[in-house]
Symmetry: C2
Subunit: 214 residues, 2 copies
């Protein structure tokens, strides 16, 4: 059996995995999940991922691995995208974790709401201030480092790039965070870089479909 990716083309969490698979040159089967067509709401999908989210990687042994950060770390093991030093490995994990609460939640959440017409004033203001705080954290780190961990490109960079590079679509101007902007260019300049993140489809618009995201 080969790898199968349960994939949503407009999800930056899914894009992260596609990017690493491309840079590793690993073949995989892409299983497109129509989130807003209700496909994650089925009992079948709950068996793939009880959290009803994408991406999920089906491994060679037929087991299912959800969470983009866990998929990145698993695929990167034994490659140049994951350090071997224990402290550097822990720092990669630290950034994978920070990214999900600090970057994806505010920036990805705000972007999704803006692009699909799901804006509530209170939630937007809160997410906007968290998004700016997140970019401040990234800026502070990238002011003194070319990459997030150990002076070279790892899955920590891939994970953070996913939503950071589309911060503009969340209404945040990356020009205010020049070290982040320069790092985005470094990531985009890596061997084998590609970007196939798609726009949200029509059924993702508020009121048009049904999903765990409303």
């Amino acid at each position: 059996m080969s790898l199968r990716l349960f994939d949503y083309p407009a999800s930056a969490n899914c894009y992260k995995v596609r990017l690493l698979l491309a840079q590793l040159g690993r073949p995989y089967e892409r299983i497109l999940i129509d989130i807003f067509g209700g496909e994650t709401l089925s009992d079948e999908y709950a068996a793939v991922n009880p959290a009803r989210e994408t991406p999920v990687l089906e491994l060679d042994d037929g087991s299912y691995l959800p969470e983009s950060g866990a998929i990145l770390a698993y695929l990167a093991e034994g490659t140049a995208f994951m350090p071997t030093d224990p402290v550097e490995r822990a720092q990669v994990l630290r950034w994978l974790l920070f990214e999900q609460t600090g970057v994806m939640t505010p920036i990805g959440g705000l972007r999704f709401r803006l692009l699909t017409g799901r804006l509530s004033a209170e939630a937007s203001e809160r997410r906007r201030s968290l998004a700016l705080a997140a970019l401040e954290v990234l800026q502070r780190h990238l002011d003194r480092h070319d990459f997030f961990v150990g002076h070279h490109y790892t899955v920590a960079d891939i994970a953070i790039y996913g939503y950071a590079h589309v911060a503009g679509e969340a209404g945040v101007d990356l020009a205010d965070f020049p070290a982040v902007q320069a790092w985005c260019a470094r990531v985009a300049g890596q061997d084998g870089h590609m970007n196939d993140l798609e726009p949200y489809p029509a059924n993702a618009m508020a009121g048009a479909g049904r999903s765990i995201y409303g």
Copy 2:
């Protein structure tokens, strides 16, 4: 040098690390951070963790490791609390990641707001429905498994226990999730289990202090 933990006694993220350190029998120095006294807002603290959060573990080499999940994984390496099988290791990471967005954010966030008088109706309703969805995910998994990964207690269990065991303080009744309740009892029955999670102090109450949490 020995391990130093930048620690907040009322944070379940910090409690997770204290629990693992206790179960590993590892000595460490505890550096109490008065979050609502503004201690994470200093330039000195930003050098420890630019995200201005606790816990942070200062390692033997003097470097700083933030993010409770990364600290747990680092300390567990080479012990019974972290599997050796690559797929099981990836599943541990998957649950460490899910816990931060799926468990800590809704349950921890709601608990914090309830216990410290920071309730806004919209945010509470949203977090409450996410908290119930998270417990549904945990219940579904624990219906068929004694522990989160590989039939025994790992740092995945420690991470999820942190906020799941105080779901009642977030206004969610664990009796509605019997497999989660039974698993909490199994975790509490592990060798060396201890619980020193403290109540929020007076300066954590809304309007009483200053911190990144308002």
